[in-house]
């Protein structure tokens, strides 16, 4: 396989910043977005401040925001995320909007993502036995009911196994037609943004390598993926963050809590 040699260089941004920017770019202007915990909190802010000023954020605690929160938040219920919100009600309200097909995009993190975009955030089996994780939260609901969802996680063989041992949040199950067969009304994974690459999904429901991050080659991605990952005929380079996007991150996450 022909491969360009990549010379390691100091980059003007961190891997976390690249992941946040890549996630932000998945948000189209005007979309209704179900914002999850952690990195997506900041991806939503970056999208609002750059290319998607009309996006609306839904948070599972019951908050609906048309503006980014005025200061950095660590959880969706931080007082800054309540102040000047558009609406502040309850979980059933926002989950009802999700179930009734109003939400275009949802963001999720996970401990493991597999070949068909199924997510595990409940428990993982390792050489030392079972490790218990915090659980679904709203992830299972977002994966079940959003029009599409995007996953963020670190890239490693352990985190990307061929098959998750526990489906916390349903992706494409075992392939094409599975979601319809089990009764899920719509949706499925649109992208998996890792610390090395962006994976997307074919019509058959299986993930393929869509772009590699700057400084990462295709072999490195394949070598750190737990199944023989299909590679797009035109693997792209994940676009680097723009100055505007980096400013939006750094003005907000001044100490780099989420992105250092």
């Amino acid at each position: 396989m022909a491969m360009t040699t990549v010379i390691p260089e100091r980059r003007a941004y961190t891997p976390g910043e690249l992941m946040v920017v890549s996630a932000a770019r998945e948000i189209r202007d005007g979309e209704i977005v179900f914002v999850g915990m952690r990195l997506p909190l900041i991806a939503f802010v970056v999208a609002k401040k750059t290319h998607a000023p009309n996006a609306v954020g839904l948070f599972e605690n019951g908050v609906i925001r048309c503006t980014p929160s005025p200061q950095l938040i660590y959880t969706m219920a931080d007082p800054a995320n309540i102040r000047n919100a558009t609406q502040c009600l309850d979980m059933l309200g926002v989950m009802s909007l999700l179930q009734s097909e109003r939400v275009h995009l949802g963001f999720l993190g996970a401990a493991e993502v597999d070949r068909f975009g199924n997510l595990n955030s409940t428990q993982v089996r390792g050489p030392k036995g079972v490790t218990r994780l915090p659980g679904s939260g709203g992830a299972c609901d977002i994966a079940s009911l959003a029009q599409r969802f995007v996953v963020l996680l670190e890239h490693s063989r352990e985190r990307l196994p061929e098959r998750v041992s526990y489906i916390t949040s349903p992706g494409n199950g075992d392939g094409q037609g599975w979601r319809q067969r089990v009764g899920l009304p719509r949706g499925g994974p649109a992208a998996v943004i890792t610390s090395k690459a962006v994976l997307r999904f074919g019509d058959d429901g299986e993930a393929y390598l869509s772009s590699t991050h700057p400084g990462v080659n295709v072999d490195e991605v394949l070598c750190h993926t737990g199944w023989p990952l299909r590679v797009s005929s035109e693997v792209m380079l994940t676009p680097e963050p723009s100055a505007e996007e980096l400013n939006a991150i750094r003005e907000y996450d001044k100490d780099g809590f989420w992105t250092k």
């Binding site: 915990m37 948070f59 599972e60 605690n61 019951g62 908050v63 660590y74 959880t75 969706m76 219920a77 931080d78 007082p79 309540i82 102040r83 000047n84 502040c88 009600l89 309850d90 979980m91 059933l92 989950m95 999700l98 179930q99 009734s100 097909e101 409940t122 428990q123 036995g129 079972v130 490790t131 218990r132 994780l133 915090p134 659980g135 679904s136 939260g137 709203g138 992830a139 299972c140 609901d141 994966a143 079940s144 009911l145 526990y166 489906i167 916390t168 949040s169 349903p170 199950g173 599975w178 979601r179 089990v182 009764g183 899920l184 009304p185 719509r186």
Partner: protein, 322 residues
Amino acid sequence: MSKLLTMREAIRELVPDGASLALGLQMEQMIPFAAGHEIIRQNKRGLTLIGPISDILFDQMIAAGCVEQVIAAWVGNVMMGSAYNFRRAVEQGGLKVVNLSNFAVALALQAAAMGVPFLPTRTALGSDVARGNEFFAKIDSPFEDSQSGESSTRLGGRGRPPLREQVKLHAVRALSPDVAIVHLQRADRDGNAHCWGNFGVMIEAVRAARRVIVVAEEIVDGDVIASDPNRTVIPGFLVSAVVACSYGAHPSPVQGCYGRDNAFFRQYHEQTKTQADSDAWLQHWVHSVADRQAYMNQLGGCRVEGLGVKQHAYAAQTDFGY
């Protein structure tokens, strides 16, 4: 009739061993830590904890040995990740866990609040969360025309009879906690209570529970509550006890009263990795303080002041006149 009790009295009288308790219902805001700590001090045993996510309070009660079962969607430390006592208890087989999703927790409480045995939903189909789980059953919609997102008329095309497919659903079983404990900004002596901020699953949990303990930052006259009935989240007739407890939600925030003590959540993560460390943490922050006032004294005036509201943001006035 005044329902005012001290925290000690409310927990002693209303939370027996073996009770199921709904806590942390407003997600990461207004978590009733003071009530949880009193439960630990009174050495309650065999409890079932119910809640959508629990930002370290469940972990503390598990560390203290109060808990037999957890019915929740997520248990951890929201800004830091895992909660070690929960994790250890599950891995060592000492804790029964019923895994739900957030929506399923809300639906289970809402079903009980409405007095029906279940509510239907389209969430979690195909997920292992629902597999072998007593709170989920697969059902088909009893109606031909679904009210769901992709209506058959839209998909059916012009001039052709619409495709009629049976809509698959999950029934989520009703869940009635023995006690719901809610922390909020203000209540009157009868338990009529105002809250503002995000509600999470508080309102349905209060209606679903057999008994409700309201813990308020401030006790006000009934006139204050009645002046703004849209802000009333709990009518007093559902309430068994009212407890006045300023700073009772620390380290979680209470909108308009105090912010989130992020450093406290970080320190908890660092200081509770083993059972011995967790025991020491509980000794310092729970057992060695008699009540919330003593806890706040231990936290220190400087730190408490730092959490205060920096810039007030009052809502526009509302005219209920006629």
